[in-house]
Symmetry: C3
Subunit: 457 residues, 3 copies
């Protein structure tokens, strides 16, 4: 009987994540409960983890606004509220169906729009809720890279496009039963909780946006040397990072989509150790360079480690998580300098944190996976990487997925921002940029009673 129970769970979990969703159309939940009385704890697990992922929106808002100047803070909070608002509605209408609906040639899903018909089912609503909070996260990541100079109406449009098409289509390839999930190397391309699907997609769209927009006024002097533009509130950025770290415990462990995978404890530990190792690494690198304990880099280091461990978190053990984190710490620091060297202005470091470390996380699966957990399953086959005798197969799948991601996200991003720019102009006027976006776009400063320096450099 226990075997049957396990089997049910595996099947159910696989179904939920495989794109071949055949819902019973049980909106009450009574039939679903009878078919598997062990489901309540899975629902509790997935929902509460999903709530924590939704709360990450607050974290992103605080990190981005904290690292930017006071004159753009109303703008950044409005963006971070509205991308969840617009994203959830857009994903409900079309995005979810494109991502998780009936597969069409491995490219996109074609059913399940508006949760209608047989989609009115407790299991389908559960899956939708989970995928929706993830989709909103991807859109939010972009806003950091294009901060302090993008028109708000352009923001609304691109947020919708990301959650309607760009994110769901790539998501379908990996999590919806699309072609990347069926690559013939290893177990196909694997991305446990979304280093690639969520973070790198967001990061590379953001990179495209930062390039199309060009740097903020004053970011580079006339010799092209970068100038530091300090954020207006380090406490806000730090609080945001704590909120994100907290929410990541929903993001990663919750991605088992089942509490019956006791492996969730391993995932929670790995998430912690990678974040800590990356934060310490980034802090020490800057300490050696500047003799200062740099809070901003410690925060971005922690986020970098969290992004990097997101894909491999379920398939590696503690020491590997720490190593993945150390590398993530190096990558985030190097990435910041690289972008500055290329004269690309990413105000909050979204590209190194989410883009570069997202790719690193995908590759790490192929290196460190240790053969103790399967494809969202506690039954074999298990995932094995280079260091555990799995050969290069899994690594090849990871490389292909990473390559596809960069081409898709960066390519779509370039097209999107270029088209929007030619249609409506995506950058605010220079005068507005100097004054800050808050007054003209939103009619109110963030802190109307406080005297602030209008930082123009």
């Amino acid at each position: 009987m226990k075997r049957r129970r396990l089997w049910t769970l595996v099947v159910w979990g696989s179904l939920a994540l495989s794109g071949s969703l055949a819902w019973a159309g049980d909106p009450t939940g009574a039939q679903t409960l009878k078919s598997d009385p062990g489901l309540p704890v899975d629902y509790v697990w997935v929902l509460i983890c999903g709530f924590m992922v939704m709360f990450m929106q607050a974290g992103f808002a605080c990190v981005e606004a904290g690292f930017c100047r006071a004159k753009n803070v109303t703008n950044l909070f409005t963006k971070n509220v509205m991308d969840f608002v617009v994203g959830s509605l857009a994903f409900w209408a079309l995005g979810y169906g494109i991502m998780m609906g009936t597969d069409w040639k491995g490219l996109l899903g074609t059913s399940g729009f508006f949760l209608s018909g047989d989609g009115y089912d407790v299991g389908n609503y559960l899956t939708f809720f989970w995928q929706m909070v993830f989709a909103a996260t991807a859109a939010t990541i972009v806003s950091g890279a294009v901060a302090e100079r993008l028109k708000f109406q352009a923001y609304l449009v691109y947020s919708a496009v990301i959650t309607l098409f760009i994110y769901p289509i790539y998501g379908h390839w990996v999590w919806g039963g699309g072609w990347l999930s069926k690559l013939p190397y290893g177990l196909g391309h694997l991305d446990f909780a979304g280093s690639g699907v969520v973070h790198a997609v967001g990061g590379f769209i953001g990179l495209a946006g930062a390039i199309v927009l060009g740097p903020r006024y004053g970011k580079f002097d006339k010799n092209g040397r970068p100038r530091a533009i300090p954020g207006h509130s380090l406490p806000m950025a730090a609080l945001g990072t704590f909120i994100l770290w907290f929410g990541w415990y929903g993001f990663n462990p919750g991605s088992t989509f089942s509490a019956h995978h006791l492996r969730i404890s391993v995932i929670a530990v790995n998430t912690t150790l990678a974040a800590s190792a990356a934060s310490l690494t980034a802090l020490l690198i800057i300490l050696l360079k500047t003799r200062r304990f740099d809070l901003g880099m410690a925060l971005n280091g922690a986020l970098a480690g969290l992004v990097a461990i997101t894909a491999p978190c379920a398939w590696v053990e503690a020491w590997a998580a720490a190593v993945i984190g150390i590398v993530a710490g190096f990558i985030v620091v190097a990435g910041v300098y690289l972008l500055e060297g290329l004269k690309i202005d990413d105000p909050v470091g979204a590209v190194p944190v989410h883009g570069f470390n997202g790719i690193w996380g995908l590759l790490a699966v192929g290196i460190f996976a240790d053969g103790t957990y399967g494809n969202y399953s506690i039954e074999p086959p298990f995932v094995k990487g280079l260091l555990y005798g799995g050969g290069v197969d899994q690594f090849i799948s990871q490389l292909i997925g990473a390559g596809a991601l960069i081409l898709w996200a960066f390519g779509c991003g370039l097209v999107l921002f270029k088209v929007l720019d030619s249609l409506m102009g995506i950058r605010v006027e220079p005068k507005e940029e100097l004054m800050g976006l808050d007054i003209i776009e939103h009619g109110t400063p963030a802190y109307p009673e406080f005297y602030t320096m209008n930082s123009q450099t």
Copy 2:
């Protein structure tokens, strides 16, 4: 066997919410566990959701203080801490017994004070915890409407009175087995998670308070035209809204009081879509009117949608949640202008958000309930509204409950504030109001090291 299990759950859930609580007096929990080994997941669900509801106190504090002026911020945070402190103690002493104790003529409960005697029982403590965090929420809502001019000692008294009597008595009528729950139309008056019991009660007491107090100095010019008094920190208000939105995922889905109702996934989705639809609606209305993307209205829009979906969230499907949200967006904007037209000063918009939209949520049950969920039960009879062939019966019960609520809450509020005013004077001196309440009432400004403009308009 599965049937028996389901049956146990239904009975237990109904008991817990019906007022006829007959506790076994099992403080260890061993007997209770033996009687139903499926209870642990229900306890985990209810408790964690309850913790999230408690965390909403932080959200209310941030929203209220963010929307008010710096000179009153210490005061607002002190209020928001102390109403939870006083409210939890008052509800423990008397409120809980009045709300959920043995029914007396459908009017109030008469047992279970101080959790003593047979009340020392794991199930009773669970129910108390849940009802206590809800009661504290109702008290907190009022503070927004009376902000920036109410004496602190009056605040302490009225908070206690609300959690001791006003809230529990109305709560008994709906959730404690009182007369509203037994109306002969439909399934009696229904309010799943408290659009009425919690939010509208708080909102209409607040309306009474705002009327008795009169507007803040400078809110209306000598021709009676309203003047905008901007809040001192939009980031604080936005962070507070994110916290409230997060906490609402405890508030609404947790109100099943059982994880065995897999319908919790539907509730989570409905909660999201209503909030998003309302926020977008409110933003767009103000955009059309002013050409500005108004963050404050987007935030209040989200909260309005959350309030409105709170009563119907378990009984409707996704599209209905979105429609309920769109209407909520209109109501909150119209409500703000209506109050200004009536020369009533509600500094943070608590009355339109919680009062008017709370009533809307009650009525929406009678319109959109689709016959897929019962009275906190996954067994029939199910709740059906106008649009799903249920006729007007349920709507009539909702109307009666809404009418009773407005009479009770607004009436008690008027009496309470009038009596307090004649006893102790509830409004601070004009000089103190101009200086801000922080120095005189609390001895310290909120931000002693920052230079702030003392905003007197």
Copy 3:
């Protein structure tokens, strides 16, 4: 069958908390699940509560920074990030093995370092995660007492030493099967969720640090009279307190380490009532003294109540929780004045809140335990204190544990800070202290765009 199930749980729970951990080396979790299909809900409970405890780091950061001056805010946030970063890595490497590994003569554990070998097991990772977030809390508490004058490099070193040795050794004595847990009075020394192990240990190390460092410049005038140094942001301190209060619902109820102890509902209620009673008490004492509603003392009062109820929360009923809270309110106020009288400068009140009230919590177990819950078990023997006919036995164990704690924590703290001081000097230069630590140690102020008064008194 139900009996067997109960028995499994008791055994498992006891094992997990007894130090004689014999892990199966099951990294997949499939075998563990088969051996007890009821485990998923326990894992969900422990993990989510653990996530909430981790989030308390954000609360500590906000409380400490809010109660300190703007010029040291970058420093305080960097400390609070880095002590979790360093603490989690140090506890992974050595601390956990010293605390929970195979017992050596009742003094320390000697196995399980780096989670390696058979330690790669879902149950072991779960236990590690839980103990790790607790260990990081203890280190964080110290930072409040030594705020605004300690060198950052000294901070990094002492954080590591605490999580590597001081905390785990005392933790082993109580929770790892060491000598205090085996005292022959009552059920041995008991500390349910760590009033002693976590809070008092942190508080008394902090006391040693505050003494070795000496008071901040300007804290005492030349006649030795204390001068108030207001914190720079009361909203930040209040938000931090709300976050801590929220996180405490993970800290205390989660310490059952099992959702099958339905007693978790009682623990949640007790946690609330103690916090509320203590906050109200502290507020009223200061009101009588100064005629002001003091927000800072209300916040510290709530924290004091939370600390005091942490040890007894599982063994007492509601009225006792309220009484424990009232006493905690008196203790925190008296403690603040006592330290000032002794010319000890504890900027945020960490010693009265965590140190003195931690000891009070330990003693309260011996007084109020009512014989309804065992040693992390719902099976007898149950814990009984003075007021419930248990005699003085349990109280004696509590006294011995409290005495050992003070000697160990205060002693180790003195040695640690003295040695560090002679090796590297732990106090910043007077000039740096006047300027604030942010610029010199971290290279950036917390709020670079806001005009602030540099508060030197």
